[in-house]
């Protein structure tokens, strides 16, 4: 058993590099992220927009129970793509770390610091025997020192900062759309429109308002705000993103 399989065993253990220096388990975790529905983040001049595709596999499923966008602290939201259960674990870490900042320093945690707390934690799961990496990517968006910030975490535990970004299924296509359409000067409402259009750009039947979750954190209030389904429906209608035939 041991001798023969040794050669192909590089993808078995998380702590084992392949001969060409790759960590297969981390790459497989990235595949798990691609299997999730997409989430989009857009940084605008006056706030950050997080949008997530949360279409249900059955009309009987309560939409609100599909958790893709979460409030981490008053001034920070987190969207996920990939394993929701893994995301919940990281989001709770982020929530607690935000409170640790309040206890320790009496101040709001910065979006960059919070992201790095999360990615440092993710990284431990790429180097510890017996563990598996997190099969989830996150978008961490919020306000820091009056400035909108938007970060991505991936299963390797690397933080990236973005102007606009997509994670999850159809990432490449949505990212191309964002690269075409994004301008740094856009206001929050235009950011919401761009995020919705980006999600809609990969859907043949257009967007269904109940299948999209949107939240914003604006510079003025520095508060995480979730859009209601009616708000989303209004915008889907306004931006003409509905499908031709209704389902």
């Amino acid at each position: 058993m041991q001798g023969q399989n040794q050669q192909q065993a590089y993808d078995r253990g998380i702590t084992i590099f392949s001969p060409d220096g790759r960590l297969y388990q981390v790459e497989y975790a990235r595949e798990a992220v691609k299997r999730g529905t997409a989430s989009v983040g857009v940084r605008t001049a006056d706030g950050v927009v997080l949008a997530a595709d949360r279409h249900a596999r059955s009309p009987l499923l309560e939409r609100d129970s599909i958790e893709k966008i979460h409030k981490a602290d008053d001034h920070v939201g987190i969207a996920s793509a990939g394993h929701v259960a893994d995301a919940r674990k990281l989001i709770d870490l982020a929530r607690r770390q935000a409170q640790v900042e309040q206890l320790r320093y009496g101040q709001q945690i910065g979006v960059e610091s919070l992201t790095k707390e999360v990615t440092d934690y993710i990284q431990e799961y790429t180097q510890t025997g017996g563990a598996r990496p997190f099969g989830v990517a996150l978008l961490v968006g919020g306000i820091e020192d009056g400035e909108p910030r938007l970060f991505e975490t991936d299963p390797s535990g690397t933080p990236y900062e973005w102007q606009a970004v997509a994670i999850g299924g159809d990432r490449e296509e949505i990212q191309s759309f964002l690269e075409e359409e994004y301008t740094p000067e856009m206001d929050l409402e235009s950011g919401v429109e761009l995020a919705l259009e980006a999600l809609g750009s990969v859907s043949d039947d257009g967007l269904d308002a109940s299948g999209v979750d949107i939240a914003t954190v604006d510079v003025e209030s520095e508060q995480f705000t979730s859009l209601t389904e009616d708000d989303v429906a209004e915008r889907v209608d306004e931006f003409d993103l509905e499908g031709e035939d209704d389902e």
Partner: protein
């Protein structure tokens, strides 16, 4: 795998549990160096002035050192005074310096004075830094700040504050002469006068004065054996 890199109330490097529990017997107390001390902090528009006397004593009855610098820089634009147990205060300063440096290295910006005061209060409250009562004075984007940090971790901001055994004497001077809108020079003279009054009558304070001037540009600390140089 640790979920948190740090205990919110403890220094990140070295835990409270690891520190030796140095419980002193009653008669040992007499051999512990105390600063006795009068330390004064005044916040004005252009910065903060801190003045401290230069005497260490054993219970205020024997002068164990006549040349103590009781104000130390702990941040690019903040300083802390040593009040109470010399050992506790020195350890407190070393700990806060390392926290300030780690914060800056990780985040690329200096910790604010308010956050530093909160952190110092947490350490004083939960930690082994017994019997200290320092003043923290600093300058940041929000302006000039002076805090007193009491032995139980109480953190109080004020325009001017005094701690140490000569506190009442120094406050007497400040209450008579403090006014809003002082310049750095005026505040320096006033702080030195307050310490001078205490050194004349408090046996735990004496032997000269150190002045720390904290501004946007940094911390400048100078010692004076003779009060005539600063009054």
């Amino acid at each position: 795998m640790s979920e948190f890199t740090e205990d919110p109330y403890a220094p990140e490097l070295g835990s409270f549990e690891d520190l030796p529990q140095n419980e002193l017997a009653g008669n040992d107390e007499d051999t512990v160096n105390k600063t006795g001390t009068t330390t004064v902090g005044i916040a004005v528009d252009d910065g903060v002035v801190i003045a401290t006397d230069m005497r260490a004593s054993l219970g205020g009855r024997f002068v164990s050192n006549k040349n103590v610098q009781k104000v130390e820089q702990i941040h690019p634009t903040a300083a802390l005074t040593l009040v109470g147990s010399v050992g506790g205060a020195q350890s407190f300063i070393r700990t806060l310096r390392s926290e300030v440096d780690l914060y800056e290295a990780r985040r690329g910006e200096d910790i604010s004075i308010d956050a530093l005061a909160t952190l110092a209060g947490n350490f004083a409250r939960g930690g082994p830094f017994r019997a200290i009562h320092p003043i923290l004075g600093g300058v940041d984007d929000e302006g000039s700040h002076v805090y007193s940090i009491d032995p139980a971790g109480g953190v109080m901001a004020d325009d001017y504050t005094v701690t140490g055994s000569g506190m009442q004497l120094a406050y007497g001077v400040l209450e008579g002469s403090y006014e809003e809108g002082l310049s750095m020079d005026e505040a320096s003279t006033l702080a030195a006068r307050a310490v001078y009054a205490a050194t004349e009558r408090d046996t735990g304070s004496g032997n000269g004065v150190y002045l720390a001037l904290v501004t946007d540009d940094g911390v400048d600390i100078t010692g004076y054996d003779d009060f005539d140089d600063v009054l």
